[in-house]
């Protein structure tokens, strides 16, 4: 950890780290404890404005918005995490193989990736969800598949650059097998571009989940997520509950800002 800070000695990284750490901490706490039961309705506290007892106010069912944001951000983050995990793993695998092998394998896999990218991603997601039905895991799989090409492309470019380096020729000459060359010799050199790509991917995943749930094709109605809440809140913006949308939107913005700054900070170091 200390090393990471020494290596990325810039304000983007520090600010991003602080914001992200704070958000993660809140989300983590939200998994075990929230000020109120997130789904508990309180008929005596409908549509309250923000106050000390309800930091973000309450919605029209009397549910505490702060508690719901804590829980909702958790499931949004969980979705983003799995989307990036699956997307990045598959992307690294495809990128590494295409970048290392080149030739016909490269052509085929990259043209499939081009095919995926050619579709407007939201539309593709809408179609697939329309077929599979909404739900957390369906959203994760759809987004993960949509995210593969961006990771694959980044890794492929890096791998085809690294492949031409003399130390790779040397490793081949020393009798190191292709799999070991890819994993032990090349992958560590691809990390500097992979790390920012992952943090940006995280961002996009949070946004994608939010927009899909907002459009009503994300998590199912009885699950809580930031996008789901944003969808809910839009009905009340002009009906006396403007802070509902405001606080949910703010949470999304902060979450993304944190990751963006982290990504920026990680990239800054590569450039100089």
């Amino acid at each position: 950890m200390k090393k990471l800070f020494e290596k990325h000695n810039n304000w983007f990284f520090r600010a991003g780290f602080v914001i992200t750490a704070f958000m993660l901490l809140m989300i983590l706490i939200g998994q075990f404890w929230t000020p109120y039961e997130p789904s508990a309705m309180d008929a005596s506290a409908k549509g309250l404005a923000p106050s000390l007892s309800h930091l973000f106010g309450t919605d029209k069912f009397g549910r505490d918005i702060f508690s719901r944001v804590m829980e909702g951000a958790g499931s949004t983050l969980l979705i983003a995490f799995f989307v990036v995990l699956i997307g990045a793993s598959a992307g690294v695998l495809i990128g590494a193989v295409t970048g290392y092998c080149g030739g016909i394998v490269d052509e085929i896999l990259m043209r499939i990736c081009d095919g995926i990218t050619a579709f407007p991603s939201v539309m593709l997601a809408l179609i697939i969800i329309a077929v599979l039905g909404p739900g957390k895991w369906n959203v994760i799989w759809v987004l993960a598949i949509l995210f593969i090409p961006s990771f694959a492309r980044v890794v492929r470019t890096e791998f085809s650059r690294i492949k031409k380096q003399n130390y790779i020729s040397l490793a081949k000459l020393q009798g190191v097998g292709p799999l070991r060359i890819i994993i032990r010799h090349m992958l560590p050199n691809a990390f500097p571009v992979l790390l920012p790509a992952i943090s940006i991917g995280f961002n996009n995943a949070v946004l994608a989940e939010a927009s899909m749930s907002f459009l009503g094709v994300g998590v199912s109605v009885n699950e809580v997520s930031l996008g789901r809440m944003l969808n809910d809140s839009q009905n009340y913006i002009l009906r006396g509950l403007p802070w509902y949308a405001l606080f949910v939107g703010l949470t999304i913005a902060l979450l993304i800002l944190g990751f963006s700054l982290l990504g920026e900070g990680l990239q800054k170091n590569n450039e100089g």
């Binding site: 380096q165 040397l170 009798g175 190191v176 097998g177 070991r180 032990r184």
Partner: protein, 254 residues
């Protein structure tokens, strides 16, 4: 060293040619461009053979063919030893920047798989000392080393698998003059210690003179002259060799 002039071949190159087609325009007009043309020579055990020529003469292509990096060529290249190892010109791209010196040196031994951890470590430290570095370099990364130190690590990485034959592709031309002399001395020492054969590629006759017994002069993919180092310097036959000799300062002073 003189008694090792048994003529055991370690490398045999016969009639090697490579070419590529260049297209002059989109509509065709293909032309065959020779990179190597009918190159033949032998390298004997314990010998240091210099391969001299200007850039673009096909030296590096020939080295790549010998190392097995060239996907296709005509002719035959026969090795009479196990895999050759290589020392590259640019020590900045020859070492994996993401790894430590210790890891880089251990990797070929790990892959070889016959030594346990302690034995590998012993060999690494021994080899580091052989090339004039010490144990404290184990945990350094290439970015923390100077050009000369990197080249020493490259040499250690090449020698750690105990090869008989080393291809050195301009191993000193990226270094400044004092470091050049040190690395050349190291290469000479290692040759004596391990009984190595070198194919030493350079554009600089001076450098070749300091290390090699025999020289091949290449120009535009063709061997134009071949002979003992002193013969070549004393009486260059081919006009191109004469040019090279005149262009170099008197090497005998060095």
């Amino acid at each position: 060293m003189a008694e090792t002039v048994q003529k055991n071949k370690i490398l045999e190159v016969r009639n090697v040619s490579t070419s590529y087609t260049i297209r002059h325009s989109a509509l065709g007009g293909k032309k065959l461009q020779h990179v190597l043309h009918d190159v033949s020579f032998d390298l004997y055990e314990g010998e240091a053979l210099g391969l001299v020529g200007e850039s673009g003469s096909g030296k590096t292509t020939l080295a790549r063919a010998i190392l097995g990096f060239l996907p296709s060529y005509e002719g035959t290249i026969t090795h009479y030893s196990k895999r050759p190892q290589v020392i590259f010109q640019d020590p900045y791209t020859a070492l994996n920047p993401a790894r430590t010196v210790g890891w880089i040196l251990e990797e070929p031994l790990r892959v070889y798989g016959k030594y346990d951890g302690a034995e590998r470590k012993r060999r690494i430290i021994d080899m580091l000392e052989q090339v004039g570095l010490s144990e404290e370099y184990l945990n350094r990364r290439p970015s923390e080393l100077s050009g000369g130190q990197r080249q020493r690590v490259s040499i250690a990485a090449a020698l750690i698998v105990r090869p008989r034959f080393i291809v050195a592709d301009e191993p000193v031309s990226a270094l400044d003059v004092t470091i050049q002399a040190q690395i050349l001395q190291l290469l000479a020492d290692m040759r004596e210690k391990f009984g190595l054969s070198y194919l030493f590629i350079s554009h600089d006759l001076n450098v070749v003179y300091q290390l090699c017994d025999r020289v091949i002069v290449m120009r535009k993919g063709v061997i134009v002259e071949e002979g003992g180092i002193d013969t070549i310097f004393a009486a260059p036959q081919h006009p191109y060799t004469r040019e090279l000799v005149e262009a170099s300062d008197n090497p005998k002073i060095l």
